[in-house]
Symmetry: C2
Subunit: 213 residues, 2 copies
DNA sequence: GCGCATAAGCGACACCGTGTTGCAGTCAGC
DNA sequence: GCTGACTGCAACACGGTGTCGCTTATGCGC
């Protein structure tokens, strides 16, 4: 049924096709960032991309098809992860360095991230990040062997990825109010100590039952 | 320009108006939960509500106007917060009890929350929650006096509210995989210890620089 | 209860975005 | 250079939108 040869799966060679699709995606991203997703029509995209409207439908089923395709392209561009340090030898500075690298990468592609988030690609980013988190956790379990965790592992992974996404997207959306190094310190401190301690709460009583869920 | 007398601000008395608006909102929520926001048309809503389509436009500018209005109504219904215990006398059990109460409240209105989230009301929920968090922080600062925090307060508030929203919405969207009590323990443990410690990471090296951003 | 104000019903209208089709051109790649 | 494809163009039917003028009926205040 689909006249389109599944742009994601098989490789397209024809320069015209590549050129047209790229033009449509670029126009789409630009328009969404200007007006928001709902205010953008297929006509607008085709017009901005200087492509006939009918041609649009030869490549994408509709606006949302283009959206999914574009988000996946953008997320693929962001598919980069720094090599995690050996968890057995973590130091505060190591983790901060690592986080700073991630933040710098984010800052470099801030417009991309903002575009993805504006496109409603948050869930897809979270999904992508879950892959990274899973990898880290798997790595950790390999190195340290089986460890009892107070939280079910099936819960830590999605929560960790959501919390990380929350930190990064907040930072980006606020216009990166702190430089990467400073933000990295805040991030690691928050993830290390949790928000309660970071609020200066006296946790001595809280610690009474530490690790006994 | 707006023929509608601002339903949010001034009180409407006419039973016909109240009846019609409620019918439209209920139909809207039901349809969005069935098909998703984009697949719902004004025609559908009016039909389901057994209201003439023209009448719809006498009350709401368009679909998104109804959405905003509906989300605000739902969020207002959820405007409930348990009295926070004295932060100077927190114990683990106290906080868990408190969290469990919140989760029970969430569970009672799970369909409401899911509706809000399905409607894309996450940001509005987060905003609402920021109010609660701010209140708690203000309360804490009053009781304990000025305390140096390793994280800027202007950052903790939005992050705390996003992290809380992430926990709750994950729990709800996963179909409440753990009973409220158990989930409350996980929540408090995560917020107390942070995800690093909950992964069983050795934080002794991380702690070397504790509190020195 | 009664009359009045007004909300709701009804049908029609123009407008716009969508998705499709057939044909003619143009260009890339063998 | 030839062939097959991609693209441009024009037109079409369809459906959702937002509005209007008129009529009906329903709740409110006296």
């Amino acid at each position: 049924m689909a006249p389109r040869p599944e742009p994601g799966s098989e490789q397209v060679k024809d320069l015209r096709v590549i050129r047209t699709r790229k033009a449509l995606q670029d126009a789409f991203v630009a328009l969404v960032r200007e007006r928001g997703l709902e205010a953008v029509t297929v006509r607008d995209v085709a017009e901005r991309a200087m492509v006939n409207r009918a041609t649009f439908y030869r490549h994408f089923r509709d606006k949302y098809d283009l959206m999914r395709f574009t988000i996946d392209s953008l997320v693929a561009d962001l598919a980069w992860r720094p090599v995690p340090a050996d968890p057995a030898s973590f130091t505060f500075e190591d983790v901060v360095d690592h986080t700073e690298a991630v933040l710098n990468r984010l800052a470099q592609h801030a417009d991309l991230f903002r575009a993805v988030l504006a496109l409603g690609g948050g869930p897809r980013l979270t999904l992508k990040m879950q892959g990274f988190v899973e990898e880290v956790i798997r790595h950790r379990l390999e190195v340290l062997g089986h460890v009892e965790t107070p939280i079910p592992k099936g819960m830590i992974v999605p929560i960790f990825s959501r919390w990380s996404t929350a930190l990064w997207s907040w930072w980006l959306m606020e216009g990166m109010p702190y430089p990467p190094r400073e933000m990295a310190v805040y991030v690691v401190t928050l993830l290390r100590d949790g928000p309660f301690r970071c609020l200066g709460l006296d946790t001595r009583r809280l610690d009474a039952n530490r690790g006994t869920p």
